[in-house]
């Protein structure tokens, strides 16, 4: 909602028409003469060679999958193999145009794209660069296997081809010598030094990642373009549509420095089937995916549809799109029509299409047609092409032998190294700035920032020297702690960007970001469309490229809108890349109250359940700033929970108030906010303050001394201080605002039971909200845990308190009945 853009009712209501340009379909019409000018005979043969390599690679996989033998090499591959036989011309045509700075993201069916892009990179890199890449990658472990096995001894490009094919195949066969030590597998293989970015087993998963990579290039002024490869089936996926929309948002050209559009090409390999569902005629209404561009962008995303069976037509189209992107006219959309002649996977019996249809496409085979053309126009003799084919078969047989050799290509030994995977779930690094040597772009010195000045006048502790509470307006609040940590990092790390809904101008719905608009240019701090999947997914792509990013979802309830991006992308890529990728993302989510069933949920349990995410939930300004500093200094994805109940709360615990300087609060360490001896109250998030209130009542009314521990972090979490407390008190209640069933509180209760069983005087009690919808504010006391509920639960489940009368029913009978009813 920039004020510079005036929405004028006079203009809004003027009559008129929206017009569209024609969308080109199969308009490639270059003559042989024109083509000869564009391509040398070597180029033409290289195109043929690359297509045949892909064809042979996938034929080999198919043979292994179906017959467990390829050219005498026997092997059983239980893993997936989604083949793209028939689509080789599309992949090679695209990759032909790309430089090493141009990067591609793909899908579960991307073997062809990996090989095409890899061969293109090998062609374009000089030998020294190429050898250095191979030597340095995973300490040369892949190079060691293939070096010396090349037919032209010592030929670097020959070694590199073997390196590429072996690295990909060993990855598919889950070998430690694969590109990602076998942890990615067939559907996720990638090799960043060649510009091959992660391929995604989630349909359309490449689109938000590619969007983030394009943001990285745009915001950090990096060379090259980004391509998101996905199929026509993925055009039904929300994150893909969100990403196209976000990539085209007006502000990039109208409000951002320079006005260049995002350098991203959404490339649809339209093979007509999303597994078995036929997009044209059955599961979609767009007919051709090229039509979609008109819905997202004033330039229709320069969309067109080309014949993917002609590699030269694809090269022509991608070359033009690339130029548009380099000219700042992105985003672009290209539909490449193609066909897979094999099934979705080897188990696919093609029950959704006729044998005649498959036959017709095999007859139109792009490689055969291209070979015929080369011979016909005299660029090559048939024998020459046969020689190329034979050498590829020899190469592939050798690669297949190497990749199935358990000595040369071992699997991860989890007997010997049981922690091999544990060790890569998080990178656990501290990197102050993701790119050194480049000054962060800011609009003013930090000390001139109005918010910074305003905070300077605030009391950094909640009480004055007489112990009197400082008024809300004058106290340094939790939101100020977050702001301080964030603005500090913006002035330190040039790659840091932040976005989300209503971040700029508004300053975030809860004023954490107030002051950042003045400090930062648009490309570092902007409003995203209401596209949670694209917001989080693009952060993942941004981080893959080496940037640091803070994205915000306003309400924790919107986690569901970005489910795949949080659970499958943000959480998994560090480990799936065998630690090659870093994921320095802070995802801010805010737990509401007073806002009913869809805006008041604490979903810590959902994020804590997924391996690969760090989850924190600070409840004090000191902890908020310290944990945000720690999260922003790290290289791991952190889901940063905040509570709308306490954005304005002052620091009540840390002596001397919140330090002005930099400090970190170590993630995973719970904090004893009040010492006690009779019972432990472990709180998550904002329930800290209700826990303290309950402790006051227990002390004053019943003479029971409660120790109150603030969990602060959920993943990681150090149980030792809690166990120590339980050894002392023998009793513990764990309180949080999440619905109780399968909550973090329940998980902690189960763990504490295991760890401290012999010290317990009663089973640990988890107290959360009821397993209901959140009712209206006026009824919230029946839903969330308040001090009376905490005391009732202690009284009924842990230690009966003399003189206390419960108003809640926590009896086993009641709880069992509720469970029977799903409540």
């Amino acid at each position: 909602m920039p004020k510079s853009q005036y929405i004028d009712p006079q203009k809004v209501f003027q009559p008129g028409f929206l017009t569209f340009d024609d969308i080109a379909v199969n308009q490639y019409a270059k003559t042989l003469e024109e083509e000869k000018k564009l391509y040398t005979p070597q180029d033409m043969l290289r195109i043929y060679h690359d297509m045949v390599v892909i064809r042979e690679f996938e034929t080999m996989l198919n043979e292994i999958k179906v017959k467990s033998v390829y050219n005498g090499v026997e092997y059983n591959n239980p893993g997936p193999a989604h083949l793209s036989l028939g689509q080789e011309a599309s992949a090679v045509g695209e990759a032909y145009c790309l430089d090493i700075n141009d990067i591609t993201f793909g899908s579960h069916r991307s073997h062809g794209e990996i090989i095409a892009k890899g061969l293109s990179a090998i062609e374009k890199l000089d030998e020294t660069e190429l050898y250095d890449i191979m030597k340095e990658f995973l300490d040369g472990s892949i190079l060691r296997v293939v070096e010396g096995k090349e037919e032209n001894k010592g030929n670097i490009k020959d070694i590199a081809k073997n390196f590429l094919l072996y690295g990909a195949l060993a990855e598919i066969f889950a070998r430690t010598t694969g590109f990602n030590k076998g942890l990615g597998g067939s559907m996720h293989a990638f090799f960043i030094p060649f510009g091959i970015y992660p391929n995604n087993a989630i349909v359309g998963g490449s689109a938000p990642c590619a969007l983030g990579a394009a943001l990285y290039k745009r915001s950090n002024k990096k060379k090259g373009i980004v391509i998101a490869n996905f199929g026509d089936g993925a055009c039904g996926r929300g994150p893909v549509l969100e990403s196209m929309g976000m990539s085209a948002m007006d502000q990039i050209k109208q409000l951002w420095d320079g006005g260049a559009g995002l350098p991203i090409l959404f490339n649809v390999f339209n093979n007509f089937y999303g597994m078995g569902g036929q997009t044209m005629g059955e599961t979609a209404g767009f007919g051709m995916p090229a039509r979609l561009g008109a819905g997202f962008d004033r330039n229709q995303m320069h969309a067109e549809s080309v014949n993917g069976y002609n590699p030269l037509a694809v090269i022509d189209a991608v070359t033009r799109k690339k130029q548009l992107l380099l000219d700042g006219k992105g985003p672009a959309l290209l539909e490449v029509k193609t066909y897979r002649t094999t099934g979705h996977s080897p188990s696919d019996s093609s029950s959704y299409r006729t044998p005649e249809e498959i036959e017709a496409w095999i007859d139109a085979d792009p490689i055969a047609a291209y070979a015929e053309k080369l011979v016909r126009v005299g660029i090559a003799k048939a024998e020459q092409l046969d020689d190329i084919k034979d050498s590829i078969v020899r190469r592939m047989t050798m690669i297949c032998k190497l990749a199935t050799d358990d000595e040369l290509s071992p699997r991860m030994d989890l007997n010997k190294n049981p922690d091999a995977i544990s060790g890569i779930m998080f990178s656990n690094q501290k990197v102050a700035s993701m790119e050194t040597g480049r000054e962060p772009e800011v609009l003013m010195p930090k000390e001139d920032n109005p918010r910074v000045k305003q905070i300077a006048g605030k009391s950094r502790f909640a009480y004055d020297e007489n112990g009197k509470a400082v008024p809300k307006t004058k106290v340094y609040a939790l939101r100020d702690g977050l702001f301080e940590a964030i603005i500090d990092k913006f002035y330190e790390d040039s790659t840091l960007i932040a976005y989300g809904e209503d971040n700029r101008d508004w300053g975030g719905a809860y004023a954490v970001y107030r002051g950042l608009t003045e400090a930062l240019p648009y490309h570092r701090f902007f409003n995203a469309p209401i596209s949670e999947a694209a917001i989080v997914g693009s952060a993942v792509g941004y981080a893959m490229c080496g940037g640091r990013v803070i994205v915000e979802l306003m309400y924790a309830d919107f986690i569901g809108c970005a489910g795949d991006e949080i659970f499958n992308q943000m959480a998994k890529w560090q480990a799936m890349s065998a630690g090659i990728l870093k994921m320095p993302i802070v995802l801010r989510v805010s737990v509401g109250s007073k806002y009913g069933a869809q805006h008041s949920q604490d979903w810590t349990a959902l994020t804590a359940h997924i391996p690969g995410l760090k989850v924190v939930f600070p409840a004090t300004p000191y902890d908020a700033k310290g944990l945000m500093n720690e999260a922003l200094a790290g290289t791991d994805p952190v889901v940063f929970f905040e509570s709308q109940r306490i954005y304005d709360i002052g620091e009540q615990f840390h002596e001397g108030g919140v330090p002005e300087g930099y400090y970190e609060v170590k993630m995973g360490e719970p904090d004893i906010k009040r010492a006690g001896k009779d019972i432990t109250i472990l709180t998550i998030g904002a329930t800290l303050y209700r826990g303290l209130e309950a402790a006051d009542i227990l002390e004053e009314k019943y003479g029971i001394s409660a120790e109150v521990i603030d969990a602060r972090s959920i993943v990681p979490f150090n149980y030792e201080p809690v166990i120590e407390s339980v050894k002392k008190t023998g009793k513990i209640i764990i309180v949080g605002d999440a619905c109780e069933r399968n909550s973090v509180m329940k998980d902690m209760a189960a763990n504490i039971t295991e760890f401290a069983f012999d010290y317990l005087d009663a089973p640990p009690v988890a107290l959360g909200s009821r397993n209901w919808i959140t009712p209206a504010f006026e009824l919230e006391k029946f839903f969330f845990p308040y001090p009376d509920a905490i005391i009732d639960a202690i009284h009924e489940k842990i230690v009966p308190i003399a003189g206390h009368v419960s108003t809640h029913n926590y009896s086993d009978i009641e709880k069992i009945e509720r469970s029977k009813n799903g409540i």
Partner: protein, 418 residues
């Protein structure tokens, strides 16, 4: 009029007693003052004498039986007397559980909701923490009143038991059944040996001493001090005690006095080691090891550090006498924070006394030998052997205590002035 003879309660902490000897059988006539039966607690033994003349009309217990205190043992009356009403009455009153009658439910629980599953549900509910505490303190779980949710016995219930002194009597488990037997040696001629069942006291001593040595990390420091002053003081007192109305203060009394005054300055020697905590005591309650016919008994002089030498001497004498006669109140056999044992009178020059758990130290007193000073003159040196539990105390602090104790004994007149 028939009278019921009950098992007396010898002290608040005693739950039951074992009848060690039954002098009568049903139908015997007895005269007032006759010994009816002998019985013992885990630490003392007693005799029950007939209060009236009469005939034994009914006998409820046998030799070796463990009879709960206040339960009837026998009825004395006149032959032919109808005692059925009396027996019926006994049955009725006995049905009143000793637990409810004797254990005051803790005050908070009185107001707490009634334990739902307490009646009719025989399932034994106890928290792990309460169970551990009970095991550590020998609390008698059978007497516990669960006040937790669903009648669960929780930590505070064990503390209630302990406050009321309900600890387990000597174990009556048949260890032989559980522990593997050593290889059977050839049985010698019957005349060559005599089998005598262990007394309860022997069993308790055996268990306690074995547990002490197997559970603790014990070691002993030996030292000696110049006993010139205390022997002179002893001589002076002996001469003047009657004249001054003082008790006969012995060397042992002086050592007790010095130990009681010195221990509180070294809190780790005046402490109980309780597994994961150490309980330090402000005052020193002295255990005094006494050799009796029935075995070792260690009565306590409570808050010995607050007593004058004369008071301490009198009290020690009294309890030693009671211990030796077997009439000591069992309540006086617990609660010590530091123990002194003396084998010096038997000529022992050095030994390794065994700690009485959960205490952390025991001081052994040796005899006086003569040592030579640098100038060649002899002086009387009295040996002290301090065993300590290295789990609770390190060597140096223990040695510091011993050093201060020796200094205090060497300068006894100064200690008296403090």
């Amino acid at each position: 009029m028939a009278t019921v003879v009950i098992m007396p309660r010898q002290g608040q902490s005693v739950e039951s007693c074992v009848i060690t000897e039954l002098n009568i059988k049903k139908g015997d006539t007895v005269a007032a003052g006759d010994t009816l039966f002998s019985y013992e607690t885990d630490k003392s033994s007693f005799e029950e004498k007939a209060a009236t003349d009469g005939t034994i009309l009914e006998l409820f217990a046998d030799e070796g039986d463990d009879v709960p205190c206040l339960d009837p043992v026998l009825i004395i009356g006149t032959p032919g007397e109808d005692i059925s009403a009396l027996i019926a009455e006994l049955n009725r009153t006995q049905a009143v559980d000793v637990d409810t009658a004797e254990i005051e439910a803790p005050k908070p629980a009185a107001a707490a909701p009634a334990p739902v599953a307490a009646s009719g549900d025989k399932f034994f509910r106890i928290s792990p923490r309460a169970k551990n505490l009970a095991a550590k303190t020998d609390a008698d779980l059978a007497k516990a009143q669960g006040t937790g949710p669903g009648g669960r016995i929780i930590e505070r219930d064990i503390n209630t038991l302990l406050d009321a002194g309900y600890t387990l009597p000597a174990e009556k488990t048949d260890d032989a059944a559980e522990t593997p037997q050593p290889a059977v040696a050839p049985i010698p001629e019957a005349a060559e040996f005599e089998d005598i069942k262990l007394t309860n006291i022997r069993k308790v001593i055996a268990k306690s001493m074995h547990a002490s040595l197997s559970d603790m990390a014990q070691l002993t420091l030996n030292s000696s001090f110049n006993a010139t002053q205390i022997t002179a003081y002893r001589a002076a007192v002996k001469e003047k005690s009657e004249q001054l109305g003082l008790p006969n203060i012995t060397l042992n009394d002086m050592i007790l006095f010095a130990a009681a005054r010195t221990a509180p300055n070294h809190r780790s020697v005046n402490a109980h080691y309780l597994d994961d905590t150490i309980r330090y005591f402000r005052h020193c309650s002295l255990g005094v090891a006494v050799d009796t016919e029935r075995g070792l008994i260690v009565p306590t002089v409570f808050n010995a550090d607050t007593l004058s030498l004369a008071e301490l001497s009198s009290q020690a004498k009294a309890i030693i006498k009671e211990a030796q006669s077997g009439s000591i109140n069992p309540d006086l056999l617990r609660g010590a924070t530091f123990t002194v044992t003396n084998l010096g009178s038997l000529g022992v020059e050095s030994f390794t006394p065994v700690i009485n758990p959960p205490q952390t130290c025991i001081l052994g007193v040796n005899n006086i030998t003569y040592r030579v000073k640098e100038d060649g003159s002899a002086y009387p040196a009295m040996g002290l052997s301090l065993t300590f539990d290295h789990r609770a105390i390190d060597g140096a602090p223990a040695a510091r205590f011993l050093k201060e104790l020796c200094e205090n004994l060497e300068n006894f007149s100064l200690l008296l002035a403090k």
